[in-house]
Amino acid sequence: METNTQRVEEFKQEVASMHLSAPVDASERTWLLVGIGLAVAGIVFIVFGWYGASGEAEVAKQVPYIISGAVVGLGFVMAGCALFLRYSLGRYLRFWLVRDLYEQRAQTDRIIEALHATGRGREEF
């Protein structure tokens, strides 16, 4: 067999030019926290808007509170919830996939055992 020195040189060059980014896990946690933060900030905006609007008798004076409180706050809450769902679901689905793989493997092992028990399985070499 040939010695693959060219491949090793390619590897070295690729390693040298590799862009190192933050680990996915760390960035996922960050986005999850950003999502929670946005949702909490949104609720604070809404409460502030409600508090401000409730103290004003005139509709015209209530409008700024509704805009900055309810609309912006609602936007924050929606964006925060979307981020939270995206990153918590991603993590959950990965665990689900691993568990599914594990169960499939256990299931296959049980089938093979049953086949061996009935004398239909292949002998281990």
Binding site: M1, T3, R7, K12, M18, A22, I112, F125
Partner: protein
């Protein structure tokens, strides 16, 4: 000891310097220093719980060191994602084979087409090295023997044209004859210039193909040398003498 031709042993392809790693608050690696020279086979030996698999996980990017550095071809790669390293050519064959039991051999191999190679190319490489897999191409991987599953795991790894191969407990659950057959293949792979770090609990066979070996105990490298140097140290490392 085997010595592989055409390789430069000066710059380690993989190097760990003072690596510490922990699962939560429990530190399992307490300052590991280890080097895999270019084109060499390095065996990492030690008893169960010594930290060998954790060391391999750190090398593969699956765990980030809490302290210390991991160097690949002289570049510090702490924080590199495992898929990034896999794409570059760092191939990990995990303990327990890691094949998809409900997929056929061919379907398992098709998983490696992410590397840019077509399925016929991947199959050609796999069947050339492991002719037995060609006979079983339509068989479900889970119904094959342990040795054949290990061959499939190796074939899948080799399909990515790795420059560095990380092997974890190749011998686990296999008969000694099969282990010898697999290590003969490891020696063939090493002869092509692929650097290999192999973690093993059962030392005898791996020492036959390794250029260097390191003994690990309680999260530390306690001895490094050639297989001949270390053979005498093995029993005390395993028995804690």
């Amino acid at each position: 000891m085997s010595s592989h031709e055409g390789v430069d042993h000066d710059v380690p392809l993989l190097e760990l310097r003072g690596v510490r790693a922990a699962y939560g608050r429990i530190e399992v690696l307490h300052g590991v220093d280890l080097a895999v020279p270019e084109g060499a086979v390095v065996a990492l030996l030690g008893p169960n719980g010594a930290g060998k698999t954790t060391t391999l996980n750190v090398c593969a990017g699956l765990m980030e060191p809490t302290q210390g550095s991991v160097y690949l071809a002289g570049r510090r790669i702490n924080g590199a994602a495992p898929d990034q390293l896999a794409r570059l050519g760092v191939c990990t064959i995990p303990e327990g084979r890691g094949v998809f039991p409900n997929l056929t051999v061919r379907e398992n191999l098709s998983m490696m087409t992410f590397s840019g190679r077509s399925l016929p190319e991947v199959e050609a490489v796999a069947y050339e090295r492991f002719p037995r897999l060609a006979e079983r191409r339509s068989q479900l991987a889970g119904t094959m023997s342990g040795g054949e599953q290990q061959m499939l795991a190796m074939a899948r790894g080799l399909a990515t044209d790795p420059a560095l191969l990380l092997l974890d407990e190749l011998s686990m659950g296999l008969a000694p004859l099969i282990v010898e057959e697999l290590y003969a293949i490891v020696a063939q792979i090493a002869a092509t210039g692929v650097s290999i770090l192999v973690v093993e609990q059962f030392a005898r066979t791996v020492l036959g193909v390794a250029d260097y070996a390191a003994i690990m105990a309680s999260g530390r490298i306690v001895q490094v040398g050639t297989p001949a140097d270390l053979e005498a140290e093995l029993s005390s490392a395993y028995l804690g003498g």
